[in-house]
Structures are given as structure tokens and as C-alpha cells.
């Protein structure tokens, strides 16, 4: 008995211990590589412009202050961008999820005649694509250029998400349940809303997050389809401010004093990066535990 316990406590062989040491060093190095730039950005955004330009910020904020954040929230252009992005994200994600479920659920029912044809019809769009110009011309013909619809419609349905949702419906909701509901006189749409969807919360959560992140981060459709400033989403405004260096006159007016020292522009940029990314980074840990499920279901061939 004593022997047995002792045996289990034998240390790992030397080779394994060396391996594990390197393994931890490797993972720690990766953790630092990813984490350090994020920390640096956040710390810089809370530091004084003098500290940032003179290179005093390495880890934590120096001369802690929130001036940059105040001037961001005073900027009309940015607040309009935020407002537009929220509208695009909320409405757009709703359209996305609704269309995806409407297509994925019937395709998961065996008794749905014609699903093979619809799947082929759908898969073809994954491999063939009209491309940028024909899509642009279509949007033009539909008079959707420079309207909010241009931010919702071109990417309203991701075939990949349909496949993931369909595989989930098929594998985790038994067909018998549907038959039983049918016997009780429950029609398909009611069954979908009151039985299937509540049972599919994990996949709906991942799907919603993916679509919402897509809308929040989208700038391409704005670049191509939008012309009026009042419609620009946050990312497009950010691109003008951060990459093209076209500062917002209102923001300059508010901060004219500080803008004279060049460094404030830097701090402002770091703060902009934080403000633009925070909403999503806050949301994602809640859905993170479902990622593996979402990814795995999608990789199964259905």
C-alpha cells in the first residue's frame, strides 16, 4: 500500500521537467507579447502628453489624468460616430440573426422537401462572388448608396453562420421533439420560437457576438457606399482621425491649449483606441466559454 502511493508520487522524469519549464517560458513569452502592447496603450491614454512624448511611460500611467477622454466625449463628430455605429450594430445584428435562423432552421428539418437544392443554392455563393464592382452597381441601381441600408444589407447573411447554426440544430435538437410538438398541434414557427431557440442559446450567443463584432468593426462598406458625414460609423471617423490624421476641428477647439504641445495628439490617439475597443472587449468574456462550441460545430461537415 505504502509502495503504491509512493509510486504515484514519483517525480516526472528529468526530460519532462525540462520540457515543462520551456513550455511555461514559451507560454509566458506569448502572454507578455500580446499583453504588453495592450497595457502600454491603456497606460499611455491615461498619462500626460509630456510623459508620453518623453518616453516615460513603460508600464503604468505617468501623471494620471483623463483629459484625452474628456475631449473625446466632447467631440460631436465622434459621438455621432458612436451613435451611428450603435444603430448599425443593433439593427444589423438583428437582421443577421433573424435571416440566419430563418434559413438554418428549415434546412435542419428532414421533412423539409427541397433542402438539398437550397443548400447547394447557398453554398454556391461561398465559392462564387460577383466582386466589388458588380455589387456596387447593384447597390446603386437599388438606390441604396448613401443610406443606412448600405450598412445592413450587403453582409446581411453569412453562409458560414448558417452552416454552424444548422449543424447545431441538427445535432442537439432531436427530430422526435419536433414530431411530438407537431402531434400536439404546434406549428413550425411557434415550435421554432418557443422550443428550438431557447434550447440553442449557446450558438445564438456566439452568432450574435460574431455578427455584432463585425458591425462594430466595419469600415469597408462605409468607405464604399457612404458619402454623407452624418451617416459615418465610428470606425470610419476613427480612420480619418487616426490614420489620415485629419483632426476634428471641434476636438481641436476644445483642446486648443493642449494641442499646442504635440504630445496631446498622441495621448488622444491612444484614448481613441481604448474607447473604440472597450465595448467589445467587455462583451467577449461572457461569450468566450461558448467559442469552442461555435468553432467545433462549424468544422463538422453537415
Amino acid at each position: 500500500m505504502f509502495n503504491l502511493i509512493n509510486r504515484n508520487r514519483i517525480k516526472d522524469p528529468l526530460g519532462d521537467r525540462i520540457f515543462m519549464t520551456f513550455n511555461y517560458i514559451f507560454l509566458f513569452a506569448i502572454l507578455l507579447t500580446v499583453f504588453y502592447p495592450l497595457l502600454y496603450i491603456i497606460s499611455s491614454s491615461f498619462s500626460s502628453s509630456r510623459a508620453v512624448t518623453s518616453g516615460q511611460v513603460w508600464l503604468f500611467p505617468v501623471d494620471f489624468n483623463i483629459k484625452a477622454y474628456i475631449s473625446i466625449f466632447k467631440s460631436q463628430q465622434l459621438m455621432l460616430g458612436f451613435y451611428n455605429t450603435i444603430i448599425y450594430t443593433v439593427v444589423g445584428t438583428f437582421i443577421n440573426v433573424a435571416l440566419t435562423v430563418m434559413l438554418a432552421y428549415p434546412l435542419s428539418r428532414k421533412s423539409f422537401y427541397g433542402r438539398g437544392a437550397i443548400i447547394i443554392f447557398m453554398m454556391i455563393t461561398m465559392f462564387f462572388d460577383g466582386g466589388l464592382i458588380p455589387t456596387y452597381l447593384l447597390m446603386k441601381d437599388l438606390h441604396l448608396l448613401d443610406t443606412r441600408w448600405a450598412m445592413w444589407l450587403p453582409g446581411a447573411l453569412a453562409v458560414f453562420q448558417v452552416i454552424v447554426a444548422r449543424t447545431f440544430f441538427q445535432s442537439s435538437i432531436p427530430e422526435e421533439l419536433g414530431e411530438a410538438a407537431e402531434m400536439d398541434g404546434c406549428r413550425d414557427i411557434r415550435y421554432l420560437i418557443s422550443v428550438v431557440l431557447p434550447l440553442s442559446k449557446p450558438i445564438l450567443a456566439v452568432m450574435t457576438l460574431m455578427y455584432a463584432v463585425g458591425h462594430w468593426n466595419a469600415y469597408f462598406d462605409a468607405l464604399i457606399y457612404l458619402r454623407s458625414e452624418k451617416l459615418f460609423p465610428l470606425q470610419y471617423v476613427l480612420r480619418n482621425l487616426l490614420i489620415l490624421n485629419a483632426a476634428d476641428p471641434a476636438m481641436l477647439a476644445n483642446t486648443s491649449q493642449q494641442m499646442r504641445d504635440q504630445g496631446f495628439e498622441q495621448v488622444l490617439k491612444y484614448a481613441l483606441i481604448v474607447v473604440a475597443s472597450i465595448p467589445i472587449l467587455i462583451m467577449y468574456p461572457f461569450v468566450q466559454k461558448h467559442f469552442v462550441k461555435g468553432v467545433m460545430v462549424g468544422s463538422l461537415k453537415g
Binding site: 518616453g55 460577383g130 455589387t135 452597381l137
Partner: protein, 325 residues
Amino acid sequence: MSRATESISAKLELQQRKHVEPKRQHPFIRSLKKHWELYLLVLPPVLYLLIFKYIPMVGVQIAFKDFSVVKGIWGSPWVGFKHFEAFFQSPNFWLLIKNTIGISFYSLIAGFPIPILLALALNEIRTGYFKKTVQMVTYAPHFISTVVMVSIIILMLSPHVGVVDKLFTLLGFPMTNFMGIPEYFKSIYVWSGVWQGMGYSSIIYIAALAGVDPSLYEAARMDGASRLRKIWHIDLPTLVPVTVIMLILSLGSIMGVGFEKIYLMQNPLNTSASEVISTYVYKVGLIGANFSFSSAVGLFNSIINLILLVIVNGISRKVSQNSLW
């Protein structure tokens, strides 16, 4: 039972049969009657695909026409392969191909193995705070938008004020404008992509490794296998199918370098290294309003992609029995 009732029941049965007869309709009609709500559900997404995906596919014909806004897609005259020939003979052609393929291959070689290594390393350590922290932190950059990502790159690399430049100055290197030097463009693009994507791309491998039967590890332990041997003989074979699928997908899109990040990273100084097919299509087509020529370039690109995908998939099916279809 009397004869009368018997004959009545026989008649009833006949009638019932007659009722059954017309019910032997086409399965579509039967399904439609029973599940009309499902067809109602499917109608909007199908219409959506038809309008927003299939109509542009038909619109690709302008690549073979001289498109004029007045005449529209259908009214414009056919010109055959004129625009394709113009593209092949243009001085930009080889530069675009070189940049597009160069950036893709570099991304593939640098970006493909790292998520697998990360997954293998994470799989070796016990579930705990450290593992969870590594996962949570490395997944996070995936959710940063392209605009923000490129801003971070530019800020970090900018001369005088960027942290990388300060570090270089500390180490005694001269001040450099990294974004303005064409030779650096590919590396900046690829390694920032690795930084942003490695954690998220590792999820699929982590999930595959989680599916390994624990008794395999126990048996290996009994046989005195070291951790490296366990990785070599159990983990790697487990990862082969999913790796092959991911490889097919990336090889199939070798010509499809994403537009967004490259376009944002471009500046007049680095275009000789950063102009790829997708940015060229945008510039010539939408900014230069050269619709037909630009569609031809885009179509050429997607056809090459499709051919690559089919070839790689075919090879893989023969060699390893793993394929997309």
C-alpha cells in the same frame, strides 16, 4: 358480423382508399402543405441571396463589356477579353501578382504553425488561472477592429514617438520610419497579423486536442512515454485532419489577401510593396470609375482562387483522405 355491415365496411375502405389515392402527390406539394411555415421562413433569406449574391454574379459580365453608365450592364457592348489582355500587359501586372502571392505565402508560413504550437503548449498544462489567462488574453486582439489595429501599428512604429522606435534608439539603432520603407511592409503586415490572430486561430486546435481519448495518454504513460513522445505520437496525429482542412482553406485563398488592412497600411512611400490585387481593383474601379477593367481584374483573381482551391483539395483527398468536399 352480418354481410351487410361487412359490405359497408368494405365500401368505406374503398372510399378511404380513394381518399388516399389523390394524396399521393408530389413530395414537394405534400411537404408544402404540411410545412408551409418552413417555406415562409426560408423565403426572405433565399430572396436575399438571389438579389444580393446572384445578381452581382450575373453582373460580372461587365468584365467582358465596355460598361457605360447610360447603357447599363445589359446594354453595354461586348468586347471579349479586351480588359483581361490590358491587365496582363500592364506594367503593374507582375508587381501585383508578386506582392499578392508574396504577402500570402509569408502570412501562411509565419501564421500557420504558431497557433498549432500554442494549442499544443496549452494542452500540456493543467486547467487553472494561468491557462485561462493565456487563453483570454491571446483571444482578445482578434476582436480589435482593422482600423484600430492599423492605428496601433502606426502609433507604435512612428518615428520619434512610437515605443518601438524609442526602444531601437535606446539600443543604439538610428531612428527609422518603418512604415515608409517598402522592404519592411510585408513583415509588419504579417507579424502584426500573427499577433492579432494566433490565439483565436488556436481555438480549433485546442478543441480537437480536447477530444483525445484520455485512455491513450494513460497507456502512453504506462509505457513510459515522455511528454514530447506523447505529443509526437498522440497529439500530432489527432491534429492532422483539422490541420489539412485549415491548410486547404488558406492555400485556396492565397490570392485573396484581405483588402481592409493593406489599404489602411498603405502610404505613398510603401506602395511598391503594398499594392495588391484587391486594393488595385478598388482604386482603379471605384476611385478611377473604370468599372469594366476593374471587374476583369477582380474576376481573374477569383477564378485563380477557385482553381487553387479545387487543385489543393484534390491533392489532399488523394494524399491524406481529408477534403472539403
